[in-house]
Symmetry: D2
Subunit: 116 residues, 4 copies
Amino acid sequence: MNPTPDSLAHLRTLTRQFARERNWAPFHTPKNLAMALSVEVAELVEHFQWLPTGADAELDDDARLGIRHELADVLLYLVQLADRTGVDLHAAALEKMALNAAKYPADPSAGLPAKR
Amino acid sequence: MNPTPDSLAHLRTLTRQFARERNWAPFHTPKNLAMALSVEVAELVEHFQWLPTGADAELDDDARLGIRHELADVLLYLVQLADRTGVDLHAAALEKMALNAAKYPADPSAGLPAKR
Amino acid sequence: MNPTPDSLAHLRTLTRQFARERNWAPFHTPKNLAMALSVEVAELVEHFQWLPTGADAELDDDARLGIRHELADVLLYLVQLADRTGVDLHAAALEKMALNAAKYPADPSAGLPAKR
Amino acid sequence: MNPTPDSLAHLRTLTRQFARERNWAPFHTPKNLAMALSVEVAELVEHFQWLPTGADAELDDDARLGIRHELADVLLYLVQLADRTGVDLHAAALEKMALNAAKYPADPSAGLPAKR
């Protein structure tokens, strides 16, 4: 069965093929992918570092396009790192949300917990 | 039409509901979410920092579970940051892969480009 | 001649001795130290991620002590990374300030440049 | 009494003056400086992400100069963040080394502790 076209499993298939066609697998150790992921996240952070909140009105078109591309880069490295460490990213996210729900019970009046 | 259960759009729906039930939206500015994302990525990096490559044989069960949870945390913040900046994460990833394919033509003999 | 007690060169001497007495040198490759540095910086960022500005009045005593310790950890890894890559950190900082002064001429009315 | 020319206190004096002459203080909140610090660290990490260890023989002259500049940028933001949070960086580093020495007793045969 093929993965649903809009699933993370589908992106995983595409990134595998992309790396194979360029022979990048030897460089894509989990350690190196984790570093590359952190570098891409910083390129995302860079767009927000001097802004008050990063809300739409504070961003010009260049920044918006840059953010779109950096979000994509982060996702693509994340998918590859999960693949190389044998983690089903979607299932792991659902599991973690269940753990978070138990840890932080719903309470609209509570505000942010001190430690999260 | 509802999002496919294994899609990023589905995770977006779940994270919206989760934040709404706890009244976390005021804290979830794009700037703050970008910072939180970088913190979660570092917790992932921490598992690999002293290892040779991070391959399976170098990881014990504790590390493997930690990595699974941190990968999930990174994805959940990424989904929320994309949501708050109006980016369709899946579409952005496909677009970026097309740009990458043009920038780095397939060539199994080439190895990693100096600048990537 | 011994390094001045409050200099970075003095800290370098102390960190060398510390690592030697524990036989940590084999783990302290530049790559690993760069990762460790990024992890410590994230622990610092964590203290500020949900705050408006991080000014004193927003911090309790626990946060203040945590920040003090994380700032120290960042400096200690930075000193070690500079040492392993053969960089005189103090001289490099002075050089970089001279480059920055040429790139961003003094102008109290200018505000932050768009790209920095 | 003036700070020793090769001390962190001297760099602090220089960064204060630099920011004052450009009216950057309003942007230099602790939160923003922590973000900027994390971005500079990632630019440092970027030089090492695909290398085996980052040892000298793996680096060309461009990489070496880049690393020198990024190390300087990290130090300069670190000095400014410590200044804005009222931390004496040198004293904090000495304190932290004393805590580390108690936590990890000298033992050349021990190797790296599992959690550090």
